[in-house]
Amino acid sequence: MSALTFLIVAVIKIAVTLGVLLTVVAYTVWLERKVVGHMQNRWGPSRVGPFGLLQPLADGIKFLLKEDLTPPYVEKNIYLLAPGLALIMALTSIALVPIGPVIHLFGISTPVQITGVVGPSGQPSDINVGILIVLGITSLGVYGIALAGWSSNSKYSLLGALRASAQMVSYEVSLGLSLVGVLLMSSTLSLSGIVHAQLGTWFGFIPQWYIFKGQFVAFFIYMMAAFAETNRIPFDLPEAETELVAGYHTEYSAMKFAMFFMAEYANMVTVACIASVMFLGGWSGPPLPSFVPSAVQAFMPLVWFSSKIFFFLFLYIWIRGTLPRFRYDQLMAFGWKFLFPLALANVIITAFFVAMQA
Protein backbone atom coordinates (compact mmCIF):
# COMPACT_ATOMS: atom_id res chain seq x y z
CA MET A 1 0.00 0.00 0.00
CA SER A 2 1.49 3.31 -1.06
CA ALA A 3 1.70 6.27 1.29
CA LEU A 4 -1.05 8.14 -0.57
CA THR A 5 -3.50 5.20 -0.48
CA PHE A 6 -2.68 4.72 3.19
CA LEU A 7 -3.46 8.36 3.88
CA ILE A 8 -6.74 8.27 1.95
CA VAL A 9 -7.85 5.04 3.63
CA ALA A 10 -6.94 6.43 7.06
CA VAL A 11 -8.86 9.66 6.48
CA ILE A 12 -11.93 7.74 5.27
CA LYS A 13 -11.79 5.43 8.27
CA ILE A 14 -11.46 8.35 10.69
CA ALA A 15 -14.31 10.27 9.08
CA VAL A 16 -16.67 7.30 9.05
CA THR A 17 -15.84 6.19 12.61
CA LEU A 18 -16.15 9.70 14.00
CA GLY A 19 -19.44 10.27 12.17
CA VAL A 20 -20.88 6.99 13.42
CA LEU A 21 -19.62 7.64 16.97
CA LEU A 22 -21.18 11.12 17.13
CA THR A 23 -24.46 9.79 15.74
CA VAL A 24 -24.44 6.98 18.31
CA VAL A 25 -23.71 9.52 21.05
CA ALA A 26 -26.62 11.73 19.94
CA TYR A 27 -29.06 8.83 19.69
CA THR A 28 -27.93 7.30 23.00
CA VAL A 29 -29.26 10.47 24.62
CA TRP A 30 -32.54 9.96 22.77
CA LEU A 31 -32.59 6.26 23.74
CA GLU A 32 -31.92 7.10 27.35
CA ARG A 33 -34.74 9.63 27.56
CA LYS A 34 -37.10 7.25 25.76
CA VAL A 35 -36.24 4.12 27.80
CA VAL A 36 -36.17 5.89 31.16
CA GLY A 37 -39.43 7.55 30.19
CA HIS A 38 -41.11 4.21 29.52
CA MET A 39 -39.67 2.80 32.75
CA GLN A 40 -41.27 5.67 34.63
CA ASN A 41 -44.57 5.20 32.79
CA ARG A 42 -44.38 8.25 30.53
CA TRP A 43 -43.58 8.77 26.85
CA GLY A 44 -40.23 10.50 26.74
CA PRO A 45 -39.49 12.80 23.76
CA SER A 46 -42.34 12.47 21.24
CA ARG A 47 -42.91 15.86 19.62
CA VAL A 48 -39.97 16.39 17.24
CA GLY A 49 -40.30 13.94 14.35
CA PRO A 50 -41.76 10.42 14.53
CA PHE A 51 -41.17 8.92 18.02
CA GLY A 52 -39.17 12.05 18.82
CA LEU A 53 -36.41 10.79 16.52
CA LEU A 54 -35.33 14.29 15.49
CA GLN A 55 -34.95 15.37 19.12
CA PRO A 56 -31.09 15.06 19.12
CA LEU A 57 -30.98 17.35 16.08
CA ALA A 58 -33.20 19.91 17.79
CA ASP A 59 -31.07 19.67 20.93
CA GLY A 60 -27.91 20.23 18.88
CA ILE A 61 -29.36 23.35 17.24
CA LYS A 62 -30.50 24.59 20.65
CA PHE A 63 -27.02 24.13 22.14
CA LEU A 64 -25.42 25.98 19.24
CA LEU A 65 -27.81 28.92 19.33
CA LYS A 66 -28.10 29.43 23.08
CA GLU A 67 -26.33 32.30 24.75
CA ASP A 68 -22.82 31.21 25.64
CA LEU A 69 -21.94 33.11 28.78
CA THR A 70 -18.71 33.03 30.73
CA PRO A 71 -19.23 33.86 34.39
CA PRO A 72 -17.00 36.55 35.89
CA TYR A 73 -14.06 35.53 38.12
CA VAL A 74 -13.41 32.28 36.29
CA GLU A 75 -9.88 31.21 35.44
CA LYS A 76 -10.47 32.04 31.79
CA ASN A 77 -7.86 30.00 29.89
CA ILE A 78 -8.42 26.84 31.88
CA TYR A 79 -12.18 27.38 31.86
CA LEU A 80 -12.11 27.38 28.05
CA LEU A 81 -9.59 24.53 27.81
CA ALA A 82 -11.46 22.07 30.04
CA PRO A 83 -14.49 21.10 27.90
CA GLY A 84 -12.28 20.65 24.84
CA LEU A 85 -9.91 18.45 26.79
CA ALA A 86 -12.77 16.30 28.08
CA LEU A 87 -14.27 15.84 24.62
CA ILE A 88 -10.95 15.18 22.84
CA MET A 89 -9.94 12.51 25.36
CA ALA A 90 -13.38 10.91 25.09
CA LEU A 91 -13.33 10.77 21.28
CA THR A 92 -9.69 9.68 20.84
CA SER A 93 -9.81 6.20 22.31
CA ILE A 94 -12.29 4.91 19.69
CA ALA A 95 -9.33 4.98 17.27
CA LEU A 96 -7.81 1.97 19.04
CA VAL A 97 -10.94 -0.20 19.00
CA PRO A 98 -11.11 -3.04 16.44
CA ILE A 99 -14.64 -2.71 15.08
CA GLY A 100 -14.45 -5.45 12.47
CA PRO A 101 -12.18 -7.91 10.66
CA VAL A 102 -10.22 -7.18 7.50
CA ILE A 103 -12.43 -5.99 4.64
CA HIS A 104 -11.56 -6.01 0.94
CA LEU A 105 -12.90 -3.07 -1.07
CA PHE A 106 -11.71 -1.78 -4.47
CA GLY A 107 -8.61 -3.96 -4.28
CA ILE A 108 -7.57 -2.58 -0.89
CA SER A 109 -7.60 -4.70 2.28
CA THR A 110 -7.81 -2.97 5.61
CA PRO A 111 -9.16 -3.86 9.05
CA VAL A 112 -12.16 -1.89 10.32
CA GLN A 113 -10.05 -0.14 12.94
CA ILE A 114 -8.49 3.31 12.64
CA THR A 115 -5.07 2.30 13.97
CA GLY A 116 -5.07 -1.09 12.24
CA VAL A 117 -3.14 -2.02 9.09
CA VAL A 118 -2.68 -5.18 7.07
CA GLY A 119 0.87 -6.46 7.37
CA PRO A 120 2.98 -7.76 4.46
CA SER A 121 1.89 -11.34 5.20
CA GLY A 122 -1.80 -10.38 5.01
CA GLN A 123 -2.25 -10.56 8.79
CA PRO A 124 -4.00 -7.59 10.38
CA SER A 125 -1.98 -5.82 13.03
CA ASP A 126 -2.41 -2.80 15.25
CA ILE A 127 -0.55 -0.96 18.01
CA ASN A 128 1.00 -3.62 20.24
CA VAL A 129 0.24 -1.73 23.46
CA GLY A 130 -3.30 -0.77 22.37
CA ILE A 131 -5.13 -1.50 25.61
CA LEU A 132 -2.57 0.48 27.61
CA ILE A 133 -3.06 3.48 25.34
CA VAL A 134 -6.80 3.29 25.92
CA LEU A 135 -6.19 3.21 29.69
CA GLY A 136 -3.77 6.14 29.37
CA ILE A 137 -6.27 8.24 27.42
CA THR A 138 -8.98 7.38 29.95
CA SER A 139 -6.73 8.45 32.80
CA LEU A 140 -6.09 11.77 31.05
CA GLY A 141 -9.85 12.33 30.70
CA VAL A 142 -10.08 13.24 34.37
CA TYR A 143 -8.22 16.51 33.69
CA GLY A 144 -11.16 17.91 31.74
CA ILE A 145 -13.44 17.40 34.73
CA ALA A 146 -10.95 18.44 37.41
CA LEU A 147 -9.90 21.62 35.62
CA ALA A 148 -13.49 22.54 34.76
CA GLY A 149 -14.48 22.33 38.40
CA TRP A 150 -11.49 24.23 39.65
CA SER A 151 -11.53 27.03 37.09
CA SER A 152 -15.26 27.73 37.46
CA ASN A 153 -14.66 29.40 40.83
CA SER A 154 -17.84 27.95 42.29
CA LYS A 155 -18.20 25.75 45.34
CA TYR A 156 -20.55 23.31 43.63
CA SER A 157 -18.19 22.88 40.68
CA LEU A 158 -15.20 22.46 42.95
CA LEU A 159 -16.90 19.83 45.11
CA GLY A 160 -18.10 17.99 42.02
CA ALA A 161 -14.63 18.01 40.49
CA LEU A 162 -13.00 16.84 43.73
CA ARG A 163 -15.44 13.97 43.96
CA ALA A 164 -14.98 13.13 40.28
CA SER A 165 -11.20 13.03 40.39
CA ALA A 166 -11.08 11.01 43.62
CA GLN A 167 -13.64 8.58 42.26
CA MET A 168 -12.01 8.18 38.86
CA VAL A 169 -8.51 7.69 40.29
CA SER A 170 -9.83 5.10 42.77
CA TYR A 171 -11.83 3.07 40.29
CA GLU A 172 -9.14 3.21 37.61
CA VAL A 173 -7.13 0.80 39.75
CA SER A 174 -9.86 -1.83 39.80
CA LEU A 175 -10.61 -1.18 36.13
CA GLY A 176 -7.00 -1.80 35.10
CA LEU A 177 -6.62 -4.85 37.35
CA SER A 178 -9.82 -6.44 36.04
CA LEU A 179 -8.33 -6.42 32.54
CA VAL A 180 -5.09 -8.11 33.66
CA GLY A 181 -6.72 -11.55 33.79
CA VAL A 182 -7.70 -11.30 30.13
CA LEU A 183 -4.24 -10.02 29.21
CA LEU A 184 -2.63 -12.96 31.03
CA MET A 185 -4.78 -15.42 29.10
CA SER A 186 -4.32 -13.80 25.69
CA SER A 187 -0.63 -12.90 26.31
CA THR A 188 -0.93 -9.80 24.13
CA LEU A 189 -1.69 -6.13 24.72
CA SER A 190 -2.94 -5.51 21.19
CA LEU A 191 -6.72 -5.16 20.98
CA SER A 192 -7.08 -6.93 17.64
CA GLY A 193 -4.80 -9.68 18.99
CA ILE A 194 -7.18 -10.13 21.93
CA VAL A 195 -10.16 -10.41 19.57
CA HIS A 196 -8.30 -12.97 17.45
CA ALA A 197 -7.53 -14.99 20.60
CA GLN A 198 -11.29 -15.41 21.17
CA LEU A 199 -12.27 -16.57 17.69
CA GLY A 200 -12.75 -20.31 18.30
CA THR A 201 -15.87 -22.12 19.48
CA TRP A 202 -16.73 -25.03 21.76
CA PHE A 203 -19.06 -27.70 20.28
CA GLY A 204 -19.30 -25.51 17.18
CA PHE A 205 -21.60 -22.89 18.67
CA ILE A 206 -20.41 -21.62 22.09
CA PRO A 207 -17.87 -18.88 21.29
CA GLN A 208 -14.62 -18.95 23.26
CA TRP A 209 -15.04 -15.50 24.74
CA TYR A 210 -13.10 -14.68 27.86
CA ILE A 211 -16.27 -14.19 29.86
CA PHE A 212 -16.97 -17.92 29.30
CA LYS A 213 -13.31 -18.83 29.90
CA GLY A 214 -13.42 -17.97 33.60
CA GLN A 215 -13.21 -14.18 33.47
CA PHE A 216 -16.82 -13.49 34.46
CA VAL A 217 -15.74 -12.11 37.86
CA ALA A 218 -13.36 -9.78 36.02
CA PHE A 219 -16.24 -8.78 33.73
CA PHE A 220 -18.36 -7.91 36.76
CA ILE A 221 -15.52 -5.85 38.28
CA TYR A 222 -14.93 -4.12 34.96
CA MET A 223 -18.58 -3.15 34.58
CA MET A 224 -18.77 -1.77 38.14
CA ALA A 225 -15.57 0.22 37.70
CA ALA A 226 -16.69 1.41 34.26
CA PHE A 227 -19.93 2.81 35.67
CA ALA A 228 -17.85 4.77 38.18
CA GLU A 229 -15.35 5.90 35.53
CA THR A 230 -18.09 7.31 33.33
CA ASN A 231 -19.84 8.98 36.30
CA ARG A 232 -23.09 7.17 35.66
CA ILE A 233 -25.81 6.27 38.14
CA PRO A 234 -25.37 4.66 40.71
CA PHE A 235 -21.97 6.37 40.89
CA ASP A 236 -22.90 9.81 39.55
CA LEU A 237 -21.83 11.68 42.69
CA PRO A 238 -19.76 14.25 40.75
CA GLU A 239 -23.00 15.65 39.32
CA ALA A 240 -25.41 14.71 42.08
CA GLU A 241 -28.11 17.26 41.28
CA THR A 242 -29.78 17.05 44.69
CA GLU A 243 -26.66 18.36 46.43
CA LEU A 244 -24.37 19.95 43.84
CA VAL A 245 -26.72 21.59 41.27
CA ALA A 246 -24.89 19.91 38.36
CA GLY A 247 -21.42 19.29 39.76
CA TYR A 248 -18.35 20.18 37.75
CA HIS A 249 -20.25 21.67 34.78
CA THR A 250 -22.57 23.91 36.81
CA GLU A 251 -21.05 27.10 35.38
CA TYR A 252 -20.98 25.96 31.76
CA SER A 253 -23.65 26.86 29.24
CA ALA A 254 -24.58 26.24 25.61
CA MET A 255 -22.03 24.35 23.49
CA LYS A 256 -19.44 24.08 26.28
CA PHE A 257 -21.97 22.23 28.40
CA ALA A 258 -22.86 20.10 25.38
CA MET A 259 -19.20 19.15 25.02
CA PHE A 260 -19.15 17.71 28.55
CA PHE A 261 -22.41 15.95 27.81
CA MET A 262 -21.04 14.46 24.58
CA ALA A 263 -17.82 13.46 26.38
CA GLU A 264 -19.82 11.51 28.95
CA TYR A 265 -21.77 9.59 26.31
CA ALA A 266 -18.68 9.04 24.13
CA ASN A 267 -16.95 7.60 27.20
CA MET A 268 -19.91 5.27 27.68
CA VAL A 269 -19.50 4.03 24.09
CA THR A 270 -15.73 3.56 24.52
CA VAL A 271 -16.17 1.64 27.76
CA ALA A 272 -18.76 -0.57 26.06
CA CYS A 273 -16.34 -1.15 23.13
CA ILE A 274 -13.52 -2.17 25.47
CA ALA A 275 -15.84 -4.44 27.46
CA SER A 276 -17.00 -6.22 24.31
CA VAL A 277 -13.44 -6.51 22.94
CA MET A 278 -11.94 -7.81 26.18
CA PHE A 279 -14.70 -10.10 27.44
CA LEU A 280 -17.24 -10.70 24.66
CA GLY A 281 -14.99 -11.37 21.70
CA GLY A 282 -15.32 -8.00 19.96
CA TRP A 283 -16.73 -8.52 16.49
CA SER A 284 -16.69 -12.31 16.70
CA GLY A 285 -19.82 -14.31 17.33
CA PRO A 286 -21.22 -17.82 17.13
CA PRO A 287 -20.92 -19.15 13.55
CA LEU A 288 -24.05 -19.05 11.43
CA PRO A 289 -25.29 -22.17 9.59
CA SER A 290 -23.84 -22.52 6.10
CA PHE A 291 -27.11 -21.92 4.23
CA VAL A 292 -26.95 -18.22 5.17
CA PRO A 293 -25.71 -16.36 2.05
CA SER A 294 -22.14 -15.07 2.16
CA ALA A 295 -23.28 -11.47 1.64
CA VAL A 296 -25.09 -11.69 4.98
CA GLN A 297 -22.14 -13.50 6.59
CA ALA A 298 -19.84 -10.63 5.59
CA PHE A 299 -21.94 -8.19 7.58
CA MET A 300 -22.21 -10.36 10.68
CA PRO A 301 -19.09 -9.01 12.51
CA LEU A 302 -20.54 -5.51 12.33
CA VAL A 303 -23.91 -6.80 13.53
CA TRP A 304 -22.32 -8.68 16.44
CA PHE A 305 -20.23 -5.71 17.48
CA SER A 306 -23.02 -3.16 17.29
CA SER A 307 -25.47 -5.44 19.11
CA LYS A 308 -22.95 -5.87 21.94
CA ILE A 309 -22.51 -2.09 22.15
CA PHE A 310 -26.28 -1.67 22.14
CA PHE A 311 -26.57 -4.22 24.94
CA PHE A 312 -24.10 -2.28 27.10
CA LEU A 313 -25.71 1.09 26.37
CA PHE A 314 -29.11 -0.37 27.23
CA LEU A 315 -27.63 -1.80 30.44
CA TYR A 316 -26.41 1.68 31.40
CA ILE A 317 -29.88 3.12 30.90
CA TRP A 318 -31.58 0.17 32.57
CA ILE A 319 -29.45 0.57 35.69
CA ARG A 320 -30.04 4.30 35.67
CA GLY A 321 -33.76 3.63 35.73
CA THR A 322 -33.38 1.08 38.56
CA LEU A 323 -30.80 2.01 41.17
CA PRO A 324 -30.54 5.00 43.52
CA ARG A 325 -27.31 6.89 44.05
CA PHE A 326 -24.60 5.64 46.43
CA ARG A 327 -23.45 7.69 49.40
CA TYR A 328 -19.90 8.97 48.97
CA ASP A 329 -18.31 6.88 51.75
CA GLN A 330 -20.14 3.81 50.43
CA LEU A 331 -18.70 4.51 46.99
CA MET A 332 -15.13 4.69 48.28
CA ALA A 333 -15.54 1.67 50.55
CA PHE A 334 -17.04 -0.34 47.68
CA GLY A 335 -14.17 0.58 45.37
CA TRP A 336 -11.26 0.01 47.73
CA LYS A 337 -12.53 -2.65 50.12
CA PHE A 338 -14.53 -4.84 47.75
CA LEU A 339 -13.67 -4.35 44.07
CA PHE A 340 -9.93 -3.88 44.54
CA PRO A 341 -9.27 -7.07 46.60
CA LEU A 342 -11.60 -9.00 44.32
CA ALA A 343 -9.67 -7.82 41.24
CA LEU A 344 -6.35 -8.74 42.88
CA ALA A 345 -7.66 -12.21 43.77
CA ASN A 346 -8.86 -12.65 40.19
CA VAL A 347 -5.39 -11.74 38.87
CA ILE A 348 -3.67 -14.20 41.21
CA ILE A 349 -6.07 -17.08 40.45
CA THR A 350 -5.88 -16.46 36.69
CA ALA A 351 -2.09 -16.26 36.85
CA PHE A 352 -2.04 -19.58 38.74
CA PHE A 353 -4.15 -21.33 36.09
CA VAL A 354 -2.20 -19.79 33.21
CA ALA A 355 1.06 -20.93 34.85
CA MET A 356 -0.38 -24.45 35.31
CA GLN A 357 -1.22 -24.68 31.62
CA ALA A 358 2.14 -23.38 30.43
Binding site: E75, I78, I127, N128, V129, L132, I133, L135, G136, T138, S139, L140, V142, Y143, A146, L147, G149, W150, L158, A161, L162, S165, A166, V169, E172, S187, L189
Partner: protein, 166 residues
Protein backbone atom coordinates in the same frame (compact mmCIF):
# COMPACT_ATOMS: atom_id res chain seq x y z
CA UNK B 1 10.77 13.20 9.91
CA UNK B 2 12.03 11.56 13.10
CA UNK B 3 14.50 14.37 13.68
CA UNK B 4 11.79 16.99 13.13
CA UNK B 5 9.47 15.23 15.59
CA UNK B 6 12.28 14.89 18.11
CA UNK B 7 13.10 18.59 17.88
CA UNK B 8 9.40 19.48 18.16
CA UNK B 9 8.79 17.44 21.30
CA UNK B 10 12.13 18.38 22.81
CA UNK B 11 11.17 22.04 22.32
CA UNK B 12 7.79 21.34 23.95
CA UNK B 13 9.53 19.61 26.82
CA UNK B 14 12.03 22.38 27.49
CA UNK B 15 9.40 25.07 26.94
CA UNK B 16 7.08 23.36 29.42
CA UNK B 17 9.88 23.09 31.96
CA UNK B 18 10.77 26.78 31.63
CA UNK B 19 7.08 27.73 31.82
CA UNK B 20 6.80 25.62 34.97
CA UNK B 21 9.42 27.78 36.63
CA UNK B 22 8.24 31.21 35.53
CA UNK B 23 4.48 30.77 36.04
CA UNK B 24 3.21 32.40 39.21
CA UNK B 25 -0.01 30.42 39.52
CA UNK B 26 0.43 26.96 40.99
CA UNK B 27 -2.11 25.32 38.69
CA UNK B 28 -0.35 26.64 35.57
CA UNK B 29 2.92 25.20 36.81
CA UNK B 30 1.25 21.83 37.35
CA UNK B 31 -0.23 21.94 33.84
CA UNK B 32 3.22 22.74 32.41
CA UNK B 33 4.58 19.70 34.23
CA UNK B 34 1.94 17.59 32.45
CA UNK B 35 3.18 18.99 29.12
CA UNK B 36 6.73 18.00 30.10
CA UNK B 37 5.61 14.46 31.01
CA UNK B 38 3.64 14.12 27.79
CA UNK B 39 6.48 15.27 25.55
CA UNK B 40 8.90 12.97 27.38
CA UNK B 41 6.52 10.09 26.65
CA UNK B 42 6.48 11.03 22.97
CA UNK B 43 10.29 11.13 22.90
CA UNK B 44 10.34 7.61 24.41
CA UNK B 45 7.91 6.60 21.67
CA UNK B 46 10.24 8.03 19.03
CA UNK B 47 13.07 5.96 20.49
CA UNK B 48 10.93 2.87 19.94
CA UNK B 49 10.15 2.16 23.59
CA UNK B 50 6.36 2.19 23.26
CA UNK B 51 5.69 0.36 26.52
CA UNK B 52 7.76 2.83 28.56
CA UNK B 53 6.06 5.71 26.74
CA UNK B 54 2.54 4.51 27.57
CA UNK B 55 3.48 3.72 31.17
CA UNK B 56 4.91 7.22 31.46
CA UNK B 57 1.55 8.66 30.41
CA UNK B 58 -0.50 6.35 32.66
CA UNK B 59 1.64 6.73 35.78
CA UNK B 60 2.92 10.29 35.62
CA UNK B 61 0.37 12.21 33.58
CA UNK B 62 -2.61 10.04 34.54
CA UNK B 63 -2.04 9.33 38.21
CA UNK B 64 0.66 11.40 39.88
CA UNK B 65 -0.21 14.71 38.22
CA UNK B 66 -3.91 14.15 38.93
CA UNK B 67 -2.97 13.96 42.62
CA UNK B 68 -0.94 17.18 42.26
CA UNK B 69 -3.94 18.96 40.71
CA UNK B 70 -6.16 17.41 43.36
CA UNK B 71 -4.03 18.84 46.16
CA UNK B 72 -3.88 22.25 44.47
CA UNK B 73 -7.66 22.23 44.16
CA UNK B 74 -8.13 21.08 47.75
CA UNK B 75 -5.86 23.75 49.20
CA UNK B 76 -7.07 26.30 46.66
CA UNK B 77 -3.49 27.54 46.39
CA UNK B 78 -3.31 31.07 45.04
CA UNK B 79 -0.50 33.07 43.47
CA UNK B 80 2.96 32.60 44.80
CA UNK B 81 4.57 35.51 46.57
CA UNK B 82 7.70 36.57 44.80
CA UNK B 83 10.60 37.98 46.69
CA UNK B 84 13.15 40.18 44.95
CA UNK B 85 15.64 37.35 45.00
CA UNK B 86 19.10 37.36 46.41
CA UNK B 87 21.85 39.48 44.89
CA UNK B 88 24.18 36.49 44.81
CA UNK B 89 21.72 34.66 42.53
CA UNK B 90 21.49 37.73 40.24
CA UNK B 91 25.23 37.93 39.72
CA UNK B 92 26.19 34.28 39.69
CA UNK B 93 22.91 32.64 38.67
CA UNK B 94 23.12 32.40 34.89
CA UNK B 95 26.92 31.89 34.62
CA UNK B 96 26.67 29.28 37.38
CA UNK B 97 23.84 27.52 35.52
CA UNK B 98 25.92 27.38 32.34
CA UNK B 99 29.03 26.18 34.15
CA UNK B 100 27.07 23.52 36.04
CA UNK B 101 25.38 22.33 32.85
CA UNK B 102 28.65 22.08 30.97
CA UNK B 103 30.34 20.16 33.80
CA UNK B 104 27.32 17.84 34.02
CA UNK B 105 27.34 17.09 30.30
CA UNK B 106 31.12 16.58 30.34
CA UNK B 107 30.91 14.09 33.22
CA UNK B 108 28.06 12.23 31.49
CA UNK B 109 30.04 12.03 28.25
CA UNK B 110 33.10 10.75 30.12
CA UNK B 111 31.19 7.97 31.81
CA UNK B 112 28.76 6.97 29.06
CA UNK B 113 29.40 3.38 27.94
CA UNK B 114 28.97 4.24 24.27
CA UNK B 115 30.81 7.01 22.53
CA UNK B 116 28.08 7.44 19.91
CA UNK B 117 24.51 8.67 20.42
CA UNK B 118 21.72 6.10 20.38
CA UNK B 119 19.93 6.23 17.01
CA UNK B 120 16.21 6.93 16.92
CA UNK B 121 14.13 3.77 17.16
CA UNK B 122 17.00 1.69 18.53
CA UNK B 123 15.48 0.96 21.94
CA UNK B 124 13.11 -1.72 20.73
CA UNK B 125 11.10 -2.33 23.90
CA UNK B 126 7.83 -4.28 23.64
CA UNK B 127 6.05 -5.11 26.89
CA UNK B 128 7.10 -8.78 27.05
CA UNK B 129 10.81 -7.93 26.69
CA UNK B 130 10.56 -5.28 29.40
CA UNK B 131 8.77 -7.73 31.68
CA UNK B 132 11.33 -10.46 31.05
CA UNK B 133 14.18 -8.06 31.90
CA UNK B 134 12.41 -6.89 35.06
CA UNK B 135 11.91 -10.42 36.36
CA UNK B 136 15.32 -11.80 35.45
CA UNK B 137 18.17 -9.34 35.02
CA UNK B 138 16.87 -6.52 37.21
CA UNK B 139 14.87 -8.61 39.69
CA UNK B 140 16.76 -7.43 42.77
CA UNK B 141 16.45 -3.74 41.89
CA UNK B 142 12.78 -4.26 41.05
CA UNK B 143 11.98 -5.94 44.36
CA UNK B 144 14.00 -3.44 46.38
CA UNK B 145 12.12 -0.59 44.69
CA UNK B 146 8.78 -2.23 45.45
CA UNK B 147 9.73 -2.52 49.14
CA UNK B 148 10.77 1.14 49.10
CA UNK B 149 7.37 2.10 47.65
CA UNK B 150 5.64 -0.11 50.23
CA UNK B 151 7.46 1.68 53.05
CA UNK B 152 6.44 5.03 51.57
CA UNK B 153 2.79 3.90 51.42
CA UNK B 154 2.92 2.72 55.03
CA UNK B 155 4.47 6.02 56.07
CA UNK B 156 1.67 7.92 54.31
CA UNK B 157 -0.97 5.77 56.05
CA UNK B 158 0.63 6.34 59.46
CA UNK B 159 0.82 10.10 58.86
CA UNK B 160 -2.74 10.33 57.58
CA UNK B 161 -4.32 8.19 60.30
CA UNK B 162 -6.04 10.07 63.06
CA UNK B 163 -4.71 9.11 66.47
CA UNK B 164 -7.30 7.20 68.47
CA UNK B 165 -5.72 7.93 71.84
CA UNK B 166 -6.53 11.61 72.01
Amino acid sequence: MHLFLFLLFAAFCVGGAVNLLIQRKTINSALSLIVVMGSLALIYLLLGAEFVAVVQVIIYAGAIMVLFIFVIMLLNAGDEEQSKGSNVAKVFGIPGLFAGGIIGIWVLLQHSPQDHPIPIGALYGPADKVGMMLFTKYLLAFEVTSILVLIAIMGAVVLARRSHTS
